[in-house]
């Protein structure tokens, strides 16, 4: 965190000065470890074993089993008591896999690039319910015209019998018992054997975490891509969530699992997504693979009858209105058929596989540098198959110059004249050269103001996207093809009311207004919050979660900069605006006990004052819903939840220790080895995830476990001094001189074994590629004892390339196209290599 989020790291350090304990879990001793009270080294890729060990420790600790706080929180705020179907089989029973494992059969002929090697039939992971009956997806069609809640019946039709529970938590089929059994083998001994973390250190971490959780104290976990970039990345975070729920650290101040996000506003780019798989506000992207043929099919498949997602029709219809305006009418399913549908996994890796197969004609590369991205030579091979490539960037990046400067061109293996691609470079404006908003890792929107005119032909990204849209609409205007109707009906009017300094620049606040939403009738009446949304088309709102940031034409709340007075415990509610509804702490009803009183005075945040929910934050709960209200099984939405159900987005209103739905690779986190590992999985016969994604190609080879040719674990990471592929830092002499050359960090032990000297040249080789770097020999890296065997680990920052003031080999020549099945995140954090003196 100190390395990559130095400014955010001021807060942990403030906490430290106030007496908090900092723990850092990392394969390398980094600048973060230097600040930590406790540093726990782990072999890259083994955090589930580590976290599983913590879970097992907690579940067997006397304090957890006796402290009423834990018992109450877990029994009522999680699904610990819920029973799971009888036919569910755990990794304990099937030696590392769950019930329902199948050969992958999904996908469509047009898109054979999904990369699955297996898939789970998840039916057995479901809750056990009274008289199980398959849901009737289609509600009766609503009466045409002005029925108030036309989708009501549909949602109601999705209702299912209540799940069975055992309040005593003793039934072997209840979630808590399953969890206990599942993690029983994650003993401290096992943790040491798998992760290489000394047992004493692990136990110290466990004691500290438990000691600092409970009524009076909370523990927070912060993570970033050290956890995500694995073939089981989401499971890693899920594992931590499980631990935090057990410890009552969710929905409470000083608790939670904090994702430290990446690119500035990468959070915004998932809220108002540049992602293929979701549309605004985390609604699934309409898919040709799922039952999404009609709007109703979609809702039947995606909506939940209980919990806040029961409102999905309002979100979706308002979204469609923002897309197609007046053309979107109940008669035509609000233009559903015009909306693009995905045909499979179109994320980065499969997209480039398709490209390499010649299936992609052209690419708009806006603010990305794939020529240096994973398995870089494969990515560049793909780029060379394009008919056209537009690079819109502030710098002539590796991607813009790959066709005449890439290593394979330098080596003479590829000749520019043989590359058919027409490459356009479009100089881009910088953030400071346009108005707009950033959404930070706390879901907080903050406005940034234009500070300078962009030089020359540089244009902002909004300019580019808006102008492209304008031109495409013009292009398709005359078309009679049904597929072009989407473009024809698309509402695309962001013209500034009075022309700005840059001709063609859209009025950025008009974009924000569309995202925030307004009364379809009178656009000047902007919406104050998503509770105002309707599913009859009377409201227009692109992204329901952002509804409320711009409640009136003169009230852009993202512009607020009013901090709380010093030494006042608050949530800074007047600084910027955080979705949803300016809540700073999600599920904060959990900061109060069943009766709505704060668990502790020290940790008070949101509470019931007798009439309403109040506190330092915006309550994440229906404001006047008494904590004592009982659940109404017959009702829809939140009425189906009791007044003691903090997790309002969940159909059952509680936090999930066990995930019956949502994840493709298992309802519980399980330790697997990375796709490439020098050792065998010590916990199960199953070596690595049975459902990971892998693109089997001769230019994407992987090696089997323990292959002697590649004996070392390698991980890749960032340095404070540089930014990602380096365009934004290696061009800057001030930053370049701070970290001028690519290096590999390795332990003195390995260096000695290999005759490598500090700052000497090293050759690093994987099945995908081979690069050169200087050695940085340091005791901050250490060999691990894994199952009695000495495993060396090396690490490389990946910021270099052939462009810029300082240059170096591209570390991603080494990495592979393997990914997790849920979100297709690559495994850049743990693979194997060999090193030699060069």
């Amino acid at each position: 965190m100190a390395e990559c989020h130095p400014v955010a790291f001021r807060w942990p350090l403030k906490a430290k000065l106030a007496g908090a304990k900092l723990i850092h879990v990392d394969p390398r001793f980094t600048r973060t470890s230097a600040m930590a009270d406790l540093y726990a080294p782990v072999r890259a890729g083994t955090d589930i074993a580590f976290l599983g060990g913590l879970i097992n420790y907690v579940l067997h600790s006397p304090r957890w089993n006796t402290d009423p706080f834990f018992q109450e929180y877990v029994a009522h705020y999680t699904n610990a008591a819920t029973l799971v179907r009888e036919d569910f089989a755990d990794t304990e029973d099937l030696n590392g896999v769950f019930s329902g494992l199948l050969q992958y059969t999904g996908g469509v002929r047009e898109w054979p690039f999904n990369g699955f090697i297996g898939e789970y039939n998840r039916s057995t992971w479901q809750y056990a319910r009274q008289a199980e009956r398959s849901p009737e997806p289609h509600g009766a069609p609503p009466a045409r015209g002005a029925t108030r809640e036309p989708f009501d019946q549909l949602i109601r039709s999705l209702k299912r019998p209540a799940a069975l529970k055992d309040p005593t938590l003793s039934d072997p089929r209840c979630v808590l018992q399953i969890v206990k059994r599942h993690f029983s083998r994650y003993t401290p001994e096992m943790v040491e054997e798998v992760t290489g973390c000394p047992r004493a250190t692990f136990l110290q971490v466990a004691e500290t975490v438990l000691a600092n959780s409970g009524r009076e104290r909370t523990t927070a976990w912060a993570y970033a891509v050290g956890w995500t970039q694995h073939t089981y990345g989401p499971q890693m975070i899920g594992c931590c969530a499980l631990l935090q729920l057990l410890l009552g650290n969710i929905g409470r101040p000083g608790g939670g699992i904090l994702a430290l996000r990446g690119h500035a506003s990468i959070q915004g780019s998932t809220d108002v997504p540049t992602l293929y798989h979701s549309i605004h506000g985390y609604l699934q992207a309409p898919s040709a693979l799922a039952r999404h043929a009609t709007l109703r099919d979609y809702l039947a498949a995606e909506a939940q009858p209980t919990g806040y997602w029961a409102n999905m029709p309002k979100f979706l219809v308002s979204y469609l209105k923002s897309m197609y305006g007046d053309a979107a009418q109940p008669e035509n399913d609000f233009g559903w058929d015009w909306h693009p549908k995905i045909a499979g996994d179109h994320s980065h890796l499969p997209m480039f596989v398709a490209m390499a197969e010649g299936q992609v004609k052209g690419m708009l590369c806006i603010g990305q540098n794939p020529a240096t991205s994973l398995n870089a030579s494969l990515e560049r091979k793909a780029l060379r198959k394009l008919d056209w490539l537009v690079v819109k960037d502030n710098f002539l990046t590796e991607t813009a110059t790959h066709w005449y400067k890439a290593p394979e061109v330098e080596r003479g293996e590829v000749r520019p004249e043989d590359i058919p691609t027409e490459v356009f470079f479009f100089p881009s404006a910088q953030v400071a050269e346009t108005d707009g908003s950033f959404t930070n890792t706390q879901r907080m929107l903050q406005w940034h103001f234009k500070a300078a005119e962009a030089p020359g032909d540089c244009r902002s990204d909004p300019w580019f996207t808006y102008q492209l849209g304008v031109r495409l609409k013009r292009l398709y205007a005359g078309s009679t093809l049904p597929r072009d109707q989407g473009f024809q009906h698309l509402v695309w009017d962001f013209e500034p009311d009075q022309p700005g300094s840059v001709p063609g620049e859209p009025a950025i606040e008009k974009v924000l207004r569309e995202i925030n939403g307004f009364q379809t009738g009178e656009p000047a009446t902007q919406l104050a919050g998503f509770s105002e949304l309707k599913d009859d088309g009377s409201t227009t709102c692109a992204s329901w979660i952002y509804c409320g940031v711009f409640p009136a034409p003169d009230q852009n709340l993202a512009k607020r900069k009013q901090a709380d007075p010093p030494d006042h415990v608050g949530a800074q509610l007047n600084w910027g605006w955080a979705w949803p509804a300016n809540r700073r702490l999600l599920y904060n009803r959990a900061s109060a006990d069943l009766d709505g009183n704060p668990w502790s005075e020290r940790k008070r945040w949101t509470w019931w004052d007798g009439k309403r929910w109040t506190g330092v934050d915006t309550p994440d709960f229906p404001t006047t819903k008494s904590p004592r209200v009982l659940a109404n099984p017959a009702a829809l939405g939140l009425d189906a939840h009791s007044g003691a159900s903090p997790f309002i987005m969940k159909p059952d209103g509680v936090g999930w220790l066990f995930n019956p739905a949502g994840l493709l690779d298992g309802p519980l986190p399980t330790h697997y080895e990375p796709a490439e590992s020098p050792v065998a999985n010590a916990l199960y016969r199953q070596q690595s995830s049975p459902v990971l994604k892998r693109w089997v190609r001769q230019d994407n080879p992987l090696v089997a476990a323990g292959d002697a040719r590649f004996p070392y674990v390698i991980t890749t990471y960032r340095l404070t001094e540089h930014y990602l592929a380096g365009a934004m830092s290696r061009w800057n002499p001030w930053l370049a001189e701070l970290m001028p050359e690519l290096f590999i960090e390795l332990s003195p032990e390995l260096a000695a074994e290999k005759g490598i000297s500090n700052t000497g040249w090293v050759r690093i080789t994987t099945p995908r590629g081979s690069i050169r770097a200087k050695a940085l020999v340091t005791r901050r890296l250490r060999p691990f004892r894994i199952g009695g065997k000495l495993v060396h680990q090396v690490g490389m920052p990946w910021h270099w390339g052939w462009q810029g003031v300082v240059t170096g080999d591209v570390v991603n020549e080494l990495t592979a196209f393997v990914a997790d099945p849920n979100v297709s995140i690559h495994e850049g954090k743990a693979f194997v290599c060999n090193v030699a003196r060069d």
Partner: protein, 269 residues
């Protein structure tokens, strides 16, 4: 006349992000070494290695690890001019280019400096060097220009962890002693303040909280004024000069006498 201002640097919260180093360069428009095309030093994460005419801030990295990793620390310290209360550089500067400002800071006036480089040899902390761009000796000005405008120095402003704290020396010393107490209470027996009292050079207006011996951080244990050697050196030299003169005079006298004696014999029949 404002009260003395300066820095208290709490090295225990320095994360080595080098924001201070870069902020200083940006504000003072200092060039990078060879346009940024430097070599990997191999000395931990330190690639600029020293303070000089174009590096007025420099972040040091000290790796302390037992061979078996049972013990391990990575110390970081953002080094800068100490703005000594009795400043060696100022003491010897023959042109008067180095002055003490109304903020009790030490500043080199580039338009006066003629580049004799005596200050470089005089600074006990190796702070000063010639800035090739300006052709004169340069160092941290404690952002004299920003202070005059009522701003916080660029480096302190940029420091995300408040490792660099700027303010009136009196306040800073209070804060420093509180923090020292906290650390010692936590059992960090090696914690100490460096330059926070009059022990040497009348005190440092940029003083440090360390958790090891000064030498570990590349700081002199007991920095002194150059003129400490003046008296004795002059004494020996003067004595020598007198001795030389005597020897010379005596030698010549002796020669005279001999010559006279010789002449005498020559004239005798």
């Amino acid at each position: 006349m404002p009260e003395p201002m300066g820095f208290y640097t709490d090295t225990t919260v320095c994360i080595g992000c080098k924001a201070c180093e870069v902020a200083c360069k940006a504000w003072n428009q200092l060039p990078a070494t060879d346009g940024g095309i430097a070599e990997l030093s191999g000395q931990s994460y330190d690639n600029t290695l020293k303070l000089d005419g174009i590096h007025w801030r420099h972040v040091k990295f000290i790796e302390q690890f037992a061979e078996d990793r049972s013990e391990g620390r990575w110390l970081m310290l953002s080094d800068v001019c100490k703005h000594c209360v009795q400043a060696p550089c100022l003491e010897v500067c023959p042109t008067g280019a180095i002055i003490r400002t109304e903020f009790d800071t030490v500043v080199i006036q580039s338009d006066t400096c003629n580049g004799c480089r005596l200050c470089i040899a005089a600074c006990p902390f190796g702070v000063i060097d010639i800035n090739p761009a300006a052709g004169t000796a340069q160092k941290c000005t404690l952002c004299y220009d920003r202070l005059q405008a009522g701003l916080v120095p660029a480096c302190a402003q940029a420091c995300p962890t408040q490792s660099i704290q700027f303010g009136p020396i009196v306040e800073l010393k209070e804060r420093a002693h509180q923090r020292l107490g906290q650390l010692q209470a936590q059992g960090e027996s090696r914690a100490r303040l460096y330059g926070a009292d009059e022990e040497f050079l009348g005190g440092l207006n940029s003083f440090y909280l360390l958790v090891d011996e000064p030498e570990v951080y590349g700081l002199p244990r007991r920095p002194v004024l150059p003129t400490r050697n003046l008296r004795r050196s002059s004494l020996w030299a003067t004595a020598g000069a007198v001795l030389l003169t005597l020897l010379g005079v005596l030698g010549l006298r002796k020669r005279r006498i001999e010559e006279v004696a010789q002449d005498g014999t020559a004239n005798s029949p």
